[in-house]
Amino acid sequence: MNWDKDAIFKALGDSTRRLILDELFERNEQTLYELTVRLISKHNLSITRQAIAKHLSVLESAGLVKSKRKGKYRVVIFNNEPLKNLLKGWIE
């Protein structure tokens, strides 16, 4: 699949979004609440749930996160597929 490189780099250009990916890498399939609590209490970020939801939609449009319903809940999942081969051509 061809990923939109501009969207990926734009998504990765923000430190909060990279932190979100770090957290999801550590534990995949988190609810928005869990992710929020982790960002606020582990990393001392002063951020609202709405702001996190916006960051997630940027990550989602770059294909880096997906969300799915798990029973009654919606969980956020890290998808590293778009990152594979991203720098191919430059580093070979």
Binding site: L32, Y33, E34, S41, K42, R69, K72, Y73, R74
Partner: protein, 127 residues
């Protein structure tokens, strides 16, 4: 002024009473018929004169909507304190309680979140 009762919307009062007493171990304090529903409150076995938990029917459409939307995002409806969260986690898992968040250290506290099967997520916290 002090907090004597705190309420929680539930889909089914009988089911909720069973979950909160048999799984969680709270003690029933009041169970009074009130029209179509009942006034049911529970207390902690360790503090029977303490704050009561009221199991409030989620009859109103807004209550149903509220419950559904916050739980979909994993947001707990309320929070209970425990002395040893890992022990409590094991005990509840053995009773078949489903967790959406396993015990996680968050700064000074450790929290976990489980499903009360009555429409809510409940957070437990060890300070």
């Amino acid at each position: 002024m002090k907090i004597i009762v705190t309420s929680l919307f539930v889909q089914d009062q009988d089911k909720a009473l069973e979950f909160y007493s048999e799984k969680l171990g709270f003690v029933k304090k009041h169970d009074v018929p009130m029209g179509k529903f009942r006034w049911i409150t529970l207390v902690s076995p360790d503090d029977q004169d303490g704050t009561e938990l009221l199991l409030e029917p989620n009859e109103h459409p807004a209550a149903k909507e509220y419950q559904k939307k916050i739980s979909a995002e994993g947001i707990p409806a309320t929070m209970f304190g425990v002395a040893d969260i890992h022990k409590e986690y094991e005990r509840l898992m053995e009773k078949g309680v489903k967790f959406t968040m396993e015990p996680t250290k968050m700064g000074e506290v450790t929290i976990a979140v489980f499903d009360d099967t009555c429409g809510n997520l409940i957070q437990i916290i060890q300070k």
